[in-house]
Assembly symmetry: C2
Homo-oligomer: 504 residues x 2
């Protein structure tokens, strides 16, 4: 036992130093997106590539494998859900994945993704899927190879999904998403048919950027984001980055004519940031100091953006201050109209602009197509047709061009396969966890109306944040809510919210 | 020969990768000063300490010593002033210095400096030199030990000076500084006695910060600073940092009531930045891609700040645009008055606020005291008295407190001994190089008046920047100006400038 503890401590110490080195790259990546002058990009890539190689070498050192092997049957690994067992489980998962991938394959994927992204930019500009197709074909071939190298039980796609959503399996995720879609489609139809529709022009501004900045920060602070260990900057695409245990960076984008793209981005990224700030900082670099999965991470961003930020009670607290900051645009707009406008539902071609209701349909389409691509049923040449057919089926609209359809975003050209489902899982987790929070805490509207966001945050801290990655996402959800993940909570939430707003 | 070339190439490749790793730390340090939230400081220190250890290990690897030994008598090292000989010379100097210092001594200095700085902050607050004295005593003892470990020919102080001003020796620097002081003191007296004095209240503002920012950037760009590979940010203390071959960061500070502290800082740091941007980027990480010394670096910042930026012709070009930006304060102020005000000479207690004439007297005082401290003549307890006596002797003023005197800045508590002389050397080099530029290029005033700063910059590029550290500072100055460094050019410059302004 003394020996096992000693081995465990060495493993943890090594892993934390690897995380320390990896965090250096995070600083450089954040800075590249925020402040770096353009000509510096070439050398920055060299800096990051050196750090990536050093980090990879440390993470895949044979010594790590020996420590893990020595711990495999030790008492520290046996008691399921103990902290040490969780640490060993997640370190083994990560080590296995990294060491199973041949470096030539990783290099080939990096190269194909880099060329793929360049080709995608051109092909999209010219609306020529034919130009992009050979690159995408090659990327999918390599990702299938990656899945084979990593290994899987049921289907190849699971090996890719596992990178972003550890321990999740298509056989479990698929039925939940399908059930969700089945209920969502009629809801979206009813919403479209409602005679009561919001006036979204209210949100077109102008909202002067120099007033957006402090108001957004005020909102982030009010929901609990700690600026002594974080900040908000401007980038082309909003994100949340962790540069160290007490160094969480949010970004948003500011455009005079964009309300939702600014403020709901702030809330979304603040949700990610609250989770990162709530993880135990003394365990930084270990699985118990890390987020569970992209899906659970997304559940936090979506909960603060949607369940909280698009609630009526939230705006009962924040609308007056907002009107004071932008009187030219908002002083004559009643709260009701404003609140309806930020909850507009309207089928669109692009996920990133989708509302809370249709969003998950975009994800389902991607999930189904990715599975077909990785499991070989679908040929690349048939992809645009399949894409359009699914958009017609699920959203009732057909993209007029492939540029606006199958080539709409960067994920596939960048080799990100298995990533999309985490967006929908985030919404499902958010709804089910939030439903439980409401049961435990009483009426959240009463709290939000008073500007009390700490009650909810404390609940999240106690039920989710403090555990890091001690449990898998499905175990965590079941522990907290007492039942496995289903689409019920999300559908209840959407039907309540939109039923009321659209008077269904 | 083929073998030597091969060894040389391996050495260069290794050294460049070390520089790549070191540049990562520069990004983190810059970010710490500019944007990092306060709670992140602790982990940032861990990140930097890991990088420092890794960089030190690479830089002092025994393999480097073997390569250098193998090259010592090779044809590549023999031909003095050849590029390869210069590279080998400087790499050997750096390697020797680093490997001669025992790691326990380095750790002790780091510890003593850290404690020393904390003690200095407290002692200064309480104006109690007695509280600081034991720390300073320990730092000086360790720095003497460092000098002994590094080795020297004439005096211990040279071993410390060499770190900042490679190949400079007290026996050469001392007489030049002494000669300068001897001529400066009567000039400063004459200036003080002149009935014509500027009105420095003109520069008290208010200059709204949001207008300072773009104007400062415009000036930096006009003198040639390339913003595609650089930027300007705000920090407590202005600096210039190189984060990569095409990534040069300037900082300044903005206060509504500070003109000189803002704009001349921009020009000063832009001078450093122009040098860094002018170094051959394809040799980044090698001595031939690096600055010669802190003194030569300072010559570039001081030349753009003083020779250029405080010239009448410079303001003939920039004063109208400045008046347009700050009409409330400047529209009724004639150019003559403004130009006189930015050239005010007034003995002060603190170097960082000193004017162009008295500045070097501050440095001479430090240089003399540091030499005495390191060569053991001066006991720490006698330091405040010695400090005050020298301020009385050279500047005619006595600090009312030790906090404003001997404890006025952080350098000594931080273990920076041998650094100060580079400030004065910078002024001396600047004047002598600038005098030669004027000889070669004709009347610079004609150029500045038209906004032509490229003519001077091209001359600096051709005569200084392109060579990196191929020559030592004294060799470079003699090559460019045809004579060894003396105080003549600087005295001529100061006597001309202030003779005219103060009508001496």
């Amino acid at each position: 036992m003394a020996d096992a503890q000693d081995t465990y401590d060495q493993l943890c110490s090594h892993t934390r130093e690897t995380a320390l080195l990896a965090s250096v790259a995070s600083v450089l990546e954040w800075e590249e997106q925020t402040y770096m002058p353009p000509a510096a990009g070439e050398y920055r890539a060299e800096q990051l590539s050196l750090l990536a190689a050093m980090t990879h070498e440390r993470a895949t050192a044979p010594q790590v494998g020996e420590w893990l092997a020595a711990l495999a049957d030790s008492p520290l690994a046996i008691e399921a859900d103990s902290e040490t067992a969780a640490v060993i489980r997640e370190m083994r998962r990560s080590y296995n994945r990294k060491t199973k991938l041949p470096s030539e394959l990783m290099a080939a994927i990096t190269r194909a993704s880099s060329l793929g992204q360049q080709a995608w930019v051109e092909a999209r500009k010219e609306d020529s899927f034919a130009k992009f197709a050979p690159h995408l074909d090659e990327i999918m071939r390599l990702k299938r190879e990656e899945a084979e190298a990593v290994g899987y039980v049921h289907c190849r796609y699971d090996a890719l999904l596992d990178e972003y959503e550890p321990h999740a399996r298509s056989a479990e995720v698929g039925p939940v998403l399908a059930a969700l879609a089945k209920q969502l489609m009629p809801l979206v139809e009813k919403i479209a048919a409602s005679p009561h529709q919001p006036d979204s022009k209210l949100l077109a501004g102008p909202f002067p950027v120099d007033r957006q900045v402090p108001f957004g920060e005020k909102v982030a602070q009010a929901v609990g984001f700690d600026f002594t260990g974080g900040r908000v900057d401007a980038t082309a695409h909003p994100f949340c980055a962790t540069l160290g245990p007490r160094d969480i960076r949010l970004t948003t984008r500011y455009h005079e004519s964009e309300f939702s793209g600014w403020l709901f981005s702030v809330l979304h990224e603040a949700g990610h940031g609250l989770y990162e700030q709530g993880l135990p900082s003394d365990k930084y670099g270990l699985p118990t100091g890390e987020a569970v999965s992209l899906g659970i991470h997304e559940s936090q961003s979506r909960m603060w953006e949607n369940q909280v930020g698009r609630s009526r009670a939230f705006w009962e607290y924040f609308y007056s201050p907002l009107q004071e900051v932008f009187p030219e645009v908002l002083q004559d707009t009643p709260l009701e109209d404003f609140h309806f406008a930020v909850n507009e539902v309207k089928p669109s071609l692009i996920r990133v602009e989708a509302d809370e209701a249709t969003y998950n349909l975009h994800i389902l389409i991607r999930f189904e197509l990715e599975q077909q691509l990785i499991d070989d049923d679908l040929a690349i040449d048939d992809l645009p047709g399949a894409w359009n057919a699914k958009y017609e089926k699920y959203l009732g609209i057909t993209p007029p061009t492939d540029a606006m359809g199958v080539m709409q975003d960067v994920h596939w050209s960048a080799g990100l396969i298995g990533y999309f489902p985490t967006y929908a899982l985030g919404n499902l987790y958010a709804a089910q966890l939030y439903e439980q929070a409401v049961r435990d805490l009483g009426d959240p509207d009463d709290q939000f109306r008073r500007g009390d966001f700490a009650t909810l945050l404390d609940w999240l801290q106690a039920n989710i944040y403090q555990y890091g990655h001690r449990y898998s996402a499905s175990t965590l959800v079941e522990r907290v809510t007492g039942r496995p993940l289903s689409s019920d909570a999300l559908m209840d939430h959407l039907e309540n919210r939109f039923g009321e707003l659209y008077r269904l």
